[in-house]
Amino acid sequence: MRTEGQTPDQLFLNDPFNRRKLLQRAGLTLGALGAGGLLSACGGNGSSGASSGKLGGQLDMYTWEGYDLPKEMAAWKKQHQVNVKASYIGVASDPESKIKSPAGRGIDLSIANQAFLGYWSQLGILSKITEEEVPTLAKMYPAFQKAPWRNEDGTYNSVPWNWGVLGLTYAPDRIDEPKSWDVMFDPEMKGRVAAFDDGKQNVQLAAVILGYDPTQLTQPQLEDVKKWLVRLVKQLKTFTPTTGDQVSLLASGEVDLVFLGWIGIDALIKDKGGKAKTVVPQGGALGYCDSLFIPPTADNRTTALAWCEESLKGKVAAQAANALYAGVPNPEVVPLLDAQVQKIVPYDNVDKFISDEIVLPLGYPVKSDKFVTGDQALKAWEEVKAAAA
């Protein structure tokens, strides 16, 4: 209440600041601060990337544990003042739901198995990458310079980064090298086998073993796959939710064989004092190629591109491949690999190995009346697990 001609003291006395007004104003202030904080928190995952076009700042990665290369990229990060904030996936399909969700906005770099590239392209979570942006793409083995990594317009949807085998991992200090997948069904192996709990890939591997095309599986073929998998599950000790779990079980002697074993286990188990070897038995195996991709909603595309380029060449790529026990798509890196790592895939004939001995499966069809979709494959795996329990 203002009255003309009154002094400030008189105004105060006429309109005192009492407890009610204090509480009202404090409440409004707190509310404004809270709303501001809430709005800014809702605005994304809080990443503070560098401004567009500038290398540096925070790089948000959503990838496999170990793929964030904390040691290998340390010098590069320091040089360019890049701060990596990494969160880890559990199964290969995790990025598709995460990046589509509001929680995934701001992720700068993630990882894609080749099986998901077609589907994720349709989902719109892969941005285009050119050879101008990542020059080392032009130096890769021809096998990696085409679909599914390359789009029809010549751009790439992702940067092939490492590759290898998803086969049969065994403990060489306890059993002989398995020549066939049938070894898993030996009576003496009952309770000595583990399987990675990735339904879609398990169905694909079983399809390959049975001689079917894993990405054009018919319903009758899926029934055959389910029967085979039910037989397998009855031999299992357990399902493993993570690769780390597979390593632990092999190292502790709980299991001797892992179905859908990753070749990287051969290296990781050494830290636990164990031994493992991943092989391609008669009947074939799955291959994988993990490629780096940048979502269209990335905050720090410039740094993500620079990361792709740096991790694809030279000592960094070699150190990463040595640590992860993986193949490299850049032939210039091969001489820099450890002697043992050079042997895990046949670099003298990469194209033939990929075309004849392993299957790098593409994704399931999203919708099809003729072939099995990803959802149907996942449902089939759940039915297998339930049937064998």
């Binding site: 399909s93 739901s97 589509k100 989902l123 339904g199 002697g253 996942l378 759940e382 329990a389």
Partner: protein
């Protein structure tokens, strides 16, 4: 003192706001999702019942429900029996040791859930503590493989995980029983067993119902322990929900499965309540307090 209604509402409003923001709104949103369809990883708004139809009619989910019951039922029975025994001892027999035992019970809950689950792997594995001890004592020649990666392992671990909660709920109820009732029963010639049957058990009936229901819900809803310890036998309804939400990204179906589970829990609670009433373990007044 007459409580001012406005003051009461005002004092409760912060809690109400928290409950609204953390439970009511998220659960309500999730419930709405359960009626959507799912295409290309995008929930499509609408009102469709086919998620519920699938959840209720697909033999897969009925099978998973039976697997879940095969774990939750024995877990509940064993946990409640052990919890009741422990809480009875604490309330009426522990004497000076009560404080220490209570502290141990509370401290046991402070460890990380996942760490405690993993610890059971170390104990139950073929080269774990138990098998190693039994082999070195000559009790067994080969390790007992069923101890780990089996439903037995899940039940053992869940009993360990939920026993403190159950015991504390029951203990809180037992401490409200006046000692004079037991003294009076003794004076009137009742033995220990009769005093227990006619005084302690009925007076702890509501808490026993709560503890039983609570333990069952925790066990049936737990999918972490079956994943890490259950092996092929550890496939439950919860793992199916997790697969739909986390791997398939099918939030509508995952939501429908979740609410079917909530309905099932409500049914279980009603059945338990009816059973407790039939056994005269619940007071006849309306205010059961559960």
């Amino acid at each position: 003192m007459r409580i001012n209604r406005r003051l009461g509402l005002g004092l409760l409003s912060p809690l109400g706001l928290v409950l609204l923001l953390t439970i009511v709104i998220p659960a309500g949103t999730f419930f709405v999702y359960s009626f959507f369809t799912f295409e290309m990883l995008e929930p499509q708004p609408g009102f469709h019942l086919h998620n519920y139809t699938e959840a209720l009619s697909d033999p897969l989910y009925r099978k998973l429900a039976s697997h879940t019951l095969a774990i939750a039922a024995p877990t509940t029975v064993v946990t409640v029996l052990l919890g009741y025994t422990l809480s009875y001892y604490l309330a009426f027999r522990a004497g000076r040791g009560r404080g220490l035992i209570l502290a141990l019970v509370v401290v046991s809950m402070m460890a990380s859930f996942l760490a405690r689950v993993y610890a059971w792997r170390t104990l139950l594995g073929e080269r774990g503590v138990i098998n190693t001890a039994l082999e070195s004592l000559g009790v067994i020649h080969d390790p007992l493989s069923f101890l780990l990666f089996s439903r037995v392992a899940v039940v053992i671990a869940q009993v360990n995980l939920f026993l403190p909660f159950t015991a504390l709920v029951l203990y809180a109820s037992m401490t409200t029983i006046p000692h004079t009732l037991h003294e009076g029963a003794r004076d009137l010639g009742a033995g220990g067993a009769e005093a227990f049957r006619r005084i302690t058990l009925p007076l702890t009936g509501p808490a026993l119902l709560s503890a039983t229901a609570f333990t069952f819900f925790l066990s049936a809803g737990d999918y972490i322990t079956p994943v890490f310890l259950g092996g092929p036998g550890g496939v439950t309804f919860g793992t199916a929900i997790s697969d739909q939400l986390r791997i398939a990204g099918n939030y509508p179906l995952g939501a429908a499965l979740s609410f079917v589970m909530v309905l099932a829990f409500a049914l279980v609670y009603l059945l338990l309540r009816a059973a407790f009433k039939a056994m005269r373990l619940l007071p006849r007044t309306a205010a059961v307090g559960t």
